[in-house]
Symmetry: C2
Subunit: 204 residues, 2 copies
């Protein structure tokens, strides 16, 4: 392994891009009547999947609910307060994780034939790795959507078992969160407070 | 709540920014001899904290290991294969989550005085919410670092209990992952395979 310094630093993103990803983006509950091109969902996954996971394990799975028929099956499974935004959004993504993600290790970590055993020694260990890495990928999903000009409306209130059974039938999948996607109307209230650096961070 | 369409769509990021965040970025294990300005760590947290979490609960906590003295305490707690890159990196971030994050709900979700009870009805529920949302924030952390022109070297191999006791002493904190930060040397091997759209996604 050759250690080789390089002068060409990666360029930081400009201020407008940081606004789009972090500073201006809001969790959306009112949606414009504007469709999302289906190609954009593939592009979104193509970005999200590049983010790092432990031993490249990639446990996240996504069901994109786009048709009126599928939306009609999802709506009764959402908590009451999440029905209206989910009805209105052009696309709803069900961000989930596969409890048997380790069956893909031969594809995703081919140089270490025993890699599955790092995760599947107990069902609890496999689930924890799926939740941890699938949630990391959930963060990449939201950032990738925003990077493509989409707004996100992530939600935690729904019948997780029923959503999994309906949209990942017969699969060992648990739902992480449900995320409306589209083009949002301006958020009607100010951003909620964030923890200060001193409340969340320490420097040694 | 007024529903109001708007014509000014958010601008998507340009191709170079998508490369920086997703397509060109690699998990780094060889680091240039180049320091990270301390201000950049505050900027990084200032971006990361803007990402959404359930009820804005923000369980992530970060210890930035920057001094030679602190690095010397961390190195013996890393798995053997992670010692050399951790020694070489100018900064190592310990990305963790607070199991009693719900004690901050009065600050972060002030309009719902009972919000802590959504999370703390059992220790297991609180831990799961901390892991889920702290990992989402871990994804935001990596994306924010890359957005600022930093490279990341996230690692899962270390003594999690000892790292927590050393860098979050006496606190109800569990370590999620350890992430070297700095300016990387080119990755010496090709990117590992990612799952195809059809392997990870379904469209309804």
């Amino acid at each position: 392994m050759v250690k080789e310094a390089t002068d060409d630093l990666r360029e930081p993103l400009d201020a407008a891009a940081l606004d789009t990803l972090f500073r201006d983006a809001r969790s959306i509950r009112e949606w414009q009547d504007r469709t999302v091109p289906m190609d954009l969902l593939r592009t979104l996954y193509g970005l999200m999947r590049m983010g790092p996971t432990a031993a490249n394990c990639q446990p996240a799975r996504v069901a994109f609910v786009t048709s009126a028929e599928a939306k009609a099956r999802l709506l009764p499974l959402m908590d009451e307060g999440n029905v209206a935004p989910t009805r209105q959004a052009p696309v709803t993504a069900i961000v989930a994780y596969d409890l048997r993600f380790y069956e893909q290790m031969a594809k995703v970590f081919p140089h270490q034939p025993g890699a599955a055993s790092w995760f599947n020694h107990t069902p609890e260990a496999a689930r924890e790795a799926a939740l941890r890495n699938g949630s990391l990928q959930g963060g990449y999903f939201i950032m990738a959507a925003r990077a493509l000009g989409l707004d996100c409306g992530p939600m935690g209130g729904f019948d997780a078992h029923a959503v999994a059974e309906t949209f990942f039938p017969g699969q060992p999948v648990e739902v992480n969160f449900v995320c409306n996607l589209g083009y949002g109307c301006p958020a009607p209230f100010p951003r909620l407070p964030r923890l200060d650096f001193e409340e969340a961070c320490v420097v040694y």
